[in-house]
């Protein structure tokens, strides 16, 4: 079960589509085989 705090974070993420640039960065670094 997830607590109210985690539920709030998840809601924020889904509502605002937060971290879009971070997602692109993760994808780019994974494709390049880099982790830094």
């Amino acid at each position: 079960p997830i607590g109210p705090k985690m539920r709030k974070c998840r809601k924020e993420f889904q509502k605002e589509q937060h971290l879009r640039a971070c997602q692109q960065l993760m994808l780019q670094q994974a494709r390049q085989g880099r982790s830094d």
């Binding site: 709030k8 998840r10 937060h18 960065l25 670094q29 994974a30």
Partner: protein
Amino acid sequence: PQGQQQEQQLFQQCCNELRQEEPDCVCPTLKQAAKAVRLQGQHQPMQVRKIYQTAKHLPNVCDIPQVDVCPFNIPSFPS
């Protein structure tokens, strides 16, 4: 080079996004973001590990107040 410049821009944007998060939400949302990236396409196990490694260390790299390395686990795969 253009690729490096683009990556630098992405990095700055990502750090700005993280700074807008509440400190308590930084790691949970990064984990959500990593999962979203993982589900966006087919990735090799090593790439999935890189996605989570990047997510885990972003608060530290971006120097986010009150957050360091996120405590979530990196998925492991049988060799």
